[in-house]
Amino acid sequence: MAKDRLREVLEEWEAVIGLEVHTELTTLATKMFCGCPVEFGGEPNTRVCPVCLGLPGALPVPNEAAIEATVLAGLATGCEIAPWSQFHRKNYFYPDMPKNYQISQYDLPFCSDGMVEVDIEADRGGPQRPDRDGDYVTPIGITRIHLEEDTGKMVHVGGSEGRIAGATHSHVDFNRAGTGLMELVTEPDIRTPEEARRFAQKLRLIWLSLGVSDCNMEEGSMRVDANVSVRRRGETAFGTKAEIKNMNSFKSLHDALAHEIVRQVELLEQGGSVVQETRHWDAGAKRTSSLRGKEEAHDYRYFPEPDMVPFEFSAEWVEGVRAKLPELPDARKARFMADYRLPAHDATVLTGDLTLAAFFEAAVTIAGVERAKPISNVILNDLSMLLNAEGISVAETRIVPSMVAELVVLVEDGVISSKQAKEVFAEMAETGDAPGAIVELRGMQQVSDTGAIEAVVDRVIAANPAQVEQYRGGKQGVLGYFVGQVMREMGGQANPTVVNELLREKLDA
């Protein structure tokens, strides 16, 4: 069903989506309130101490680097930074929480009222909404960004799929407990699954640019939950929302929302009503199901965390953090379009991946700005194809920027044809040899020497009088035949431009 059905229901219905994005501050050296190292994996309960285990008498001490990272994230998403802020305790019992309260923030988050613009490209994923046509940019409001501590991880044994239902017992690993966790909440500004996906991808790119997290959705260092409701187009009141969890990839986010929107619309069209609840996305079965247990109406009994003093951020301090902001995705895209004269699509794709962008800029530095577009082509076509086919990252290939730069120069200088360049690229991916060396070793240098080509051209024309007759009789297409013959005689190394020119010259004479 999916896409077509979604498009269909969105003709009459509008989806209202807000996201909650939790990001672990994985690049910090230590956890949020203690000195334990932040690392993924490890033997269970080896990266713990009295503080993150919540032992009797232990106290939290805030990690200033985590606060600075959160403020940096706020500044990068256009947020206001609170001049005065504090932590609160969120009280609830769960075995993955050592203290049975989570140190979080309540009414005084570090950052609020931001905005991120999202680009939607019509030919990639489509607009999905009848009120927009073609490519469009849509602003997504950021309600707040706050900082809290992550919980431990539970492993349920004896039930199905490791879920708590039916489990006979459970293990808890506190290695992750107390890791700094940044929670961003958006305004309900998102209208389609595609906008949600693009927003999440954009946010990930911003976080990666800032270096605050590795944003690994599979490992859970970036987790996106969605609140979604539907209403008939033209209505202004919100419908009843459901919260969707367990979306471990951008594709899951998109698909889960698409399914949930269709589910809600069908429910309403059949005279039913949406229940406010938390639903679990099952990527395998492609459906959401109601999640019971933890989500009964909770009273978290928030109150100011008395183990820490409130924070006051001076304007000078905030400006000091702002000065540390690196180039952000929007600015980088604009710069790629302006400085390298790249089309919007190229700039979007290249700046959409920090390693590709860095690869591109390194290659351009070597080959020269005037060769930016052909370099972009090689990256977006040959390199991307390789990465997708192999399912690997740039770092895992044998290709480095200097190779792409050299390859593009070889084509631009007419040493090899662009068709040959594809072969050279494949070989350098295979061997890690420099393109120049490959061309030399395989004798692929293109012959552009007019004299040498002219001799072959003359021979081919003399040997094919019938075809000459056809061409001169108006069948211009026969030219391709002559080109093929010449190239064959020259082992494919003749410069095709020169061959074409000489053939025309002789045949039209």
Partner: protein, 494 residues
């Protein structure tokens, strides 16, 4: 045999340094006194003879090698059982933590031991520090060495009784609403609650984080000054500990109170339940200060009338959250045969918490609940702000303030245990000081004319004015000449 109860901490240290006796002999004397009296007093949950002897050996080795001894070298100390020390059990006198082994050291304890002290044991307390009599202990009450039928006060009653009975020279307690000062008053010991932030709370099991503070008990003001110097100072493990330059609290101790502005808090004397002998002790104390050359005046702290109510919202609110970790999952007592995780929580807590703990957790949970937060917690915080302002105003006119420490002398075991409200009133003079974060000391002012039991004078100072408070207390102590030896101890002294 050395009679420890006649020696101060400094005399012990100097005696060891001068080779009059060894640290091991001091440890033996303290442990001997515990052996002789603790069967009757029950000040200790655990006696740590091995730790004491090991520490004594290090001191005696230092003496042998001619190293300069630290300030508390060879001084027997005991700790309230809510402070972690590796090699001991930290139970908070609660069934849910029975047998709980410490895996790390409380900062204040660590500092005390770094100063050369010998840890002789862990002292009984009201469960999780909830109480004013040490009757709320899962391991049975502590008795007052002055009268074994009476309570030693609480919640640090074991620490107070241990000093009063000469079983330790110095002890540490924790004070959330009076839990050091009130038992100090009831046992005739000197008891100091430092300014909030002066001493690290790291490793002391929290009751109410915004109010808790660790402090010392001793027989003399000077010993409290030495102990405070040893345990205070910024701790990177406690974000609420304050970074201040190190102070020698003994330096100006004996410079007297001439010209010191002393304010007698008059409205608190009208409080419900204040006995005549206690009220009389305050006018006597005022005369003592006047005779020593202080400028004595009167002051009112009207907002402190709301102190008790505010405290019984804020304290339980924070406690309900601090005690949530005791759930039977990771450590401590776990209930058998639970149906599921919720049942495990409920059974473990129902079995492991005593009635007063359950009362406070429920009070606090209620006060923080949606719809009640503003009416209770919010209002209590406003009252707290007003009380702070009252103190600020008073301290603009006076250097120190005088009140009784407790409204009565030691009451009988069982006398108030069925009436929580009358028990709560025991801390009516001490609670406002915690709410404002000030420092205060309880120093014995004599035996009550009617009861013949010790009465304590509370001397309150503004934030970080411990040096002034200690100086006033030392002058008062010298003028009063109180003998801190209970009859029980006189018997064993022979």
């Amino acid at each position: 045999m050395i009679d420890l109860s006649r020696l101060t901490a400094t005399q012990i240290r100097d005696g060891i340094a001068d080779k009059l006796f060894t640290a091991r002999e001091v440890a033996e004397a303290a442990l001997g006194r515990i052996e002789a009296l603790d069967g009757q007093v029950h000040a200790f949950n655990q006696v740590t003879a091995e730790l004491a002897y090991a520490a004594a050996e290090r001191i005696d080795d230092a003496v042998a090698s001619g190293v300069v001894l630290p300030v508390l070298a060879g001084v027997p100390v005991a700790l309230k059982d809510n402070m972690n020390l590796v090699g001991t059990r930290t139970t908070c006198s609660a069934a849910i933590l029975e047998g709980h082994e410490s895996v790390y050291d409380c900062t204040a304890v660590h500092r005390l031991l770094e100063a050369g002290a010998l840890p002789v044991g862990k002292c009984n307390m009201d469960e999780f520090a909830f109480g004013s009599s040490t009757e709320n202990s899962a391991f049975g009450p502590t008795r007052n060495p002055w009268d074994l039928d009476r309570v030693p006060g609480g919640s640090s009653g074991g620490s107070a009784a241990a000093v009063a009975a000469g079983m330790a020279t110095l002890t540490l307690g924790s004070d959330t609403g009076g839990s050091i000062r009130q038992p100090g008053a009831l046992t005739g010991t000197v008891a100091l609650k430092p300014t909030y932030g002066r001493v690290s709370r790291y490793g002391c099991v929290a009751f109410a984080s915004s109010l808790d503070q660790i402090g010392p008990f001793a027989k003399t003001v000077e010993e409290c000054a030495v102990a405070l110097g040893a345990i205070s100072g910024k701790d990177p493990m406690d974000a609420t500990s304050v970074d201040r330059p190190a102070e020698d609290f003994t330096a100006a101790l004996h410079e007297g109170v001439r010209g010191l502005r002393v304010g007698v808090v008059t409205d608190l004397l009208e409080a419900e339940g204040c006995s005549a002998e206690v009220r009389d002790s305050i006018s006597a104390a005022a005369e003592v200060f006047a005779s020593l050359g202080a400028e004595v005046g009167e002051v009112e702290l009207p907002s402190t009338a709301h102190g008790l109510s505010a405290y019984y919202v804020i304290g339980p609110a924070e406690a309900s959250s601090n005690l949530a970790r005791f759930d039977g999952i990771r450590y401590g007592r776990r209930a058998e045969e639970a149906e599921d995780v919720l049942d495990l929580y409920m059974r473990s807590r129902a079995e492991g918490f005593g009635p007063e703990t359950i009362r406070r957790v429920m009070l606090g949970t209620y006060a923080l609940s949606a719809g009640y937060y503003d009416a209770y917690y919010g209002q209590a915080q406003k009252a707290r702000t007003l009380i702070k302002r009252d103190f600020e105003t008073a301290f603009s006119r006076f250097d120190v303030l005088l009140t009784p420490t407790a409204p009565t002398t030691a009451f009988r075991i069982g006398e108030k245990s069925s009436d929580p409200l009358s028990m709560y009133l025991s801390d009516i003079y001490t609670i406002p000081v915690n709410l404002a974060g000030n420092c205060a000391i309880s120093v014995p002012s004599g035996l009550g004319a009617e009861t013949g039991l010790p009465i304590g004078l509370q001397i309150i100072g503004t934030h970080f004015a411990e040096a002034v408070v200690l100086r006033a207390a030392a002058a008062f102590e010298a003028a009063v000449g109180f003998d801190p030896t209970p009859p029980l101890v006189r018997e064993v002294q022979g």
